[in-house]
Amino acid sequence: MSRVRQPRAVKSPGAGFDAARGAACNADGRTPMRKPDPSAVNGLTEMDRRLINQYQGGFPICERPFQVVADTLGISEADVIARIATLLQAGLLTRFGPLFNADRMGGSNVLAAMAVPASEFERVAEFVNLQPEIAHNYRREHALNLWFVGAAETPEKVEAAFDYIESMSGYPVYRFPKEREFFVELKLEA
């Protein structure tokens, strides 16, 4: 496969969270933004918390899904839409929509780690982030200090991304493919 990677719309490392994804949802600029609510705690109102706690899954597939959510919460459809837009813009949500399971698509999802010296860390982390196959990337406090997940439609694509990172950075990429999954369910209380 080609080794030439086109620059993608990937945020630079350290630029914070994925709030830009939310902006993409309302790029028409017409989605109304809410004014800040002075009673909000950590940027979240009681209604925001209810929305987050109830809709980390189960967003309906129907004609007017926001209306269904609105009826559950006792607010208007427009309010639901504006809240989600605002929470995305503020970075309180990283995304809104379907969460795909790469494994079930015949795809591949592999955890990997590198031991990068402090002086090289920013450069290598930035390079890893630029690869579109890298879905998550975290700095962790350990000799293995850079932990990331490669996700793509095929195991070969993930492996090629890891090989590429290895050859360009000069540091080994330790692969930690899951051998067995015992549990996966991340729902956090707001």
């Binding site: 993409a24 989605t31 987050i52 809709y55 967003f59 837009a85 991340l186 956090l188």
Partner: protein
């Protein structure tokens, strides 16, 4: 998965449109009927291609700043049975068996915990340790000190 499913994934993987009829917007974009969009999304949900549809909170922003990847070196003949038990603990969000990478990495069981304080994360790890007992030889907790990227899966257009 066929081409239409693929197109649906690329059209929705960065997020659903924030309009009153989001599935209509997708249908228009892809040039298929809204019924087909909804039917296919429901089928993908049923088959597990879609884990769930909803909001994905930024756990740092919600105060979960102490995200510990707890890792354990567990006897090979006990790791599967014990992994099942660890996966059932309410505070464990992900639990996997993975290969060791000796000598740098002796751990074969991974369990993620999300806590609002270091103390809470450590308390969770202690509960895991209690379940593992003598089957565990060595352990560590790797805290994430920075989220560098979190986009989820992206397949090419």
């Amino acid at each position: 998965m066929d081409t239409i499913d693929r197109n649906l994934i690329t059209a929705t993987q960065t997020g659903l449109p924030l309009t009153p009829r989001p599935y209509h917007a997708i249908a228009e974009q892809l040039g298929i009927s809204v019924d087909e969009v909804m039917m296919r999304l429901k089928a993908m949900q049923a088959s597990g291609v879609i884990r769930r549809i909803g909001v994905v909170p930024n756990h740092y922003a919600l105060g979960y700043r102490h995200n510990g990847m707890t890792v354990w070196d567990v006897a090979d003949d006990r790791v599967d049975a014990l992994g099942e038990q660890i996966g059932k603990l309410a505070f464990v969000s992900h639990c996997y068996r993975r290969p060791r990478r000796l000598p740098i990495w002796p751990y074969n069981l991974f369990a993620m915990v999300h806590a609002r304080s270091r103390e809470q994360a450590q308390a969770y790890a202690n509960q895991i340790a209690a379940v593992l007992g003598e089957a565990c030889h060595k352990s560590d907790i790797l805290y994430s000190s920075r989220m560098l990227k979190k986009t989820g899966l992206r397949i090419a257009d």
